[in-house]
């Protein structure tokens, strides 16, 4: 079976037969650009966070250098927070872009601008343009656009500890803000898909089941994610979701989101995830601690095992790779997954 990289990725998401699982890295919170990769790319950080050509160029170079079979933008997790008024620090190749200060200490103080205004702010248009350039230049590589989940955006508008408390004490106001973040994400996702994104990866990194619990997840997070996923599908995109931590009792909520793919925490096993999320493609889950601190041979072996029977539909590091992850280890992961298939095909 000869598949292009896009075909392999899309078939893996759709549970259609593939020669082997693709090895991908979405970007966004799944950082695909450690220091060594940036150094070899001809691009620099933080500059590539703010320039469409450099953003697309670095994403493309990262795929070539690492062997990942996808390209993803934006490359950081601060685009939405900046648009919603948080003070951010774009960091550099060693230090990740991060939120320095949220604009509000309580949800009652928030007056969010209309969606049209938000779409004009910050790097929203830069990211859309980067996707358009990738659609032109990335050949058969599938294109993934990254969004921060609506409730995690809300938790970057209001100081996160205060916001987590207010999910319980001010359910109405927090829901209004999360719904507004969802409206923005839907409008932005439509543009990203129109520009050529094959899939949208949603990174709900603060309002996770492990932190807020199943009841709050179901009432305060699920409805917004569900609406976002439906809008992504309506626009012709595929929807992936990543959350840190265990799913616990929230697995039944996540299973109802109608996701195409789920990118789990590195601590979760494919067997338990298959049972919890039937019909959802599983993308994972090479531990980023292992990628940072491990040795190439065991990493290649693990990648080969997770790409084999009972493993994942697509391989990916989880969660975000550290900026000082050795390139040698990333290469071991991407090659390990691909070698297995070549060895096995000898026996077929």
């Amino acid at each position: 079976m000869t598949l292009t990289r896009r075909e392999r990725f899309l078939r893996a998401l759709a549970h259609q037969p593939v020669d082997r699982p693709p090895v991908i890295c979405t970007g966004g919170s799944m950082t695909a650009t450690p220091e060594q990769v940036v150094a070899l790319s001809g691009h620099t950080l933080p500059e590539a966070h703010g320039d469409a050509a450099a953003m697309a160029g670095l994403a493309l170079a990262a795929a070539r250098i690492t062997g990942f079979e996808s390209v993803g933008v934006p490359l950081c997790v601060t685009v939405e927070a900046e648009i919603f008024g948080a003070q951010i620090d774009l960091g550099d190749a060693r230090t990740e872009a991060r939120i320095v200060r949220e604009p509000h200490t309580s949800v009652v103080d928030v007056v969010a601008p209309p969606v049209e205004e938000l779409l004009r702010r910050g790097r929203a248009a830069v990211s859309v343009e980067a996707v358009r350039l990738l659609a032109r230049d990335a050949g058969d590589l599938p294109i993934i656009a990254n969004l921060i989940g609506p409730v995690s955006i809300a938790a970057s508008v209001v100081e996160p500890i205060a916001f987590l408390r207010e999910l319980r004490t001010r359910p109405q106001e927090t829901a209004t803000l999360s719904a507004h973040a969802t409206d923005f994400l839907i409008a932005w996702a439509r543009r990203l898909i129109e520009a050529g994104a094959d899939a949208i990866a949603i990174h709900e990194d603060t309002a996770t089941p492990a932190l807020v619990g199943p009841r709050t997840f179901e009432t305060a997070v699920f409805p917004h994610l569900q609406r976002l996923v439906a809008a992504i599908h309506a626009a012709g995109g595929r929807a992936l979701l990543h959350m840190c931590g265990a799913l616990g009792k929230s697995a039944t909520s996540v299973a109802r989101l109608d996701l195409d793919g789920y990118i789990p925490d590195a601590s979760l096993s494919p067997a338990e995830l298959r049972e919890a999320l039937p019909g959802v493609a599983l993308i994972g889950n090479i531990s980023t601690f292992l990628l940072h601190q491990g040795q190439p041979a065991p990493i290649a072996k693990l990648a080969a095992r997770l790409a084999g029977p009972g493993g994942f539909d697509a391989l990916s590091p989880t969660c975000g790779m550290s900026s000082i992850t050795p390139l040698e280890n990333i290469r071991a992961m991407t090659l390990g997954a691909q070698n297995l298939c070549e060895q096995e095909s000898l026996h077929v």
């Binding site: 230090t95 500890i161 987590l164 408390r165 319980r168 619990g213 980023t288």
Partner: protein, 220 residues
């Protein structure tokens, strides 16, 4: 202790546990109005309530929002009772300087540890997040801290913790402080390597660790 006293303390514990800040405030005032002992009300009411909430947190019945609101109710009651507590009764004289190390702004874990340390009676100086190594040392010296608690969620910033220990050693003040570390990429092995005094994988265990290191392990 009279039945009425016992009942009031129990109501206070329940108010905290059931996340009712207003009721905790009213009941704390009632303790004072009836002339009951403020420290007993803290210990058997407020702290008991937070401990019950913490137990449900461990059992995954309560999550971060619930724990935060229980802590709010505890603080509200404490604000009323604290001026009436005789200092020799408590562990309120041990000081901790806590923060997320430079380069990292993930602070939910650090905040949970801070709350639990405060619940356990520590005076906590919270430096927030993205804190330079030198700042930990300066503050610890200035407030005469017993413990320096360092947090990070990121592998890139772990090495900042070692820098804090190095500065303490260079400035010949290492033996004045116990240094404890926590955060998801860390391990006991890492803690040993950088010369910290202890590591805890969970917030509740961080409190046990701090108590043990300052010789308070049997305190409330």
């Amino acid at each position: 202790m009279s039945d009425d006293q016992r009942r009031l303390y129990e109501q206070l514990a329940t108010a905290v546990f059931e996340l009712d800040e207003k009721l905790a405030t009213i009941l704390a005032q009632e303790v004072l109005d009836r002339g009951y002992d403020a420290w007993q009300a803290v210990e058997r009411g407020l702290l008991e309530g937070v401990n019950r909430a913490g137990k449900l947190f461990d059992e995954e019945e309560y999550f971060v929002p619930e724990l935060l609101i229980a802590a709010d109710a505890m603080y509200a009651g404490l604000a009323i009772l604290r001026p009436h507590i005789k200092t020799h009764q408590t562990g309120f004289n041990r000081r901790v300087v806590i923060g997320v190390v430079q380069g990292d702004t993930h602070d939910i874990g650090k905040n949970l540890v801070r709350i639990m340390l405060e619940v356990a009676g520590f005076e906590v100086h919270d430096l927030g997040r993205d804190v330079p190594p030198q700042k930990f040392v300066e503050t610890a010296i200035a407030v005469k801290a017993d413990v320096i608690a360092l947090s990070t969620l990121m592998t890139t910033t772990m090495e900042r913790m070692g820098e804090v220990v190095s500065i303490l050693e260079a400035e010949k003040v290492r033996n004045r402080f116990k240094v404890i570390v926590g955060g998801s990429p860390l391990s006991q092995q890492f803690s040993d390597r950088i010369g910290a005094d202890g590591y805890a994988p969970k917030a509740a265990q961080a409190v046990e660790l701090a108590k043990r290191l300052v010789g308070l392990s049997n305190a409330a």
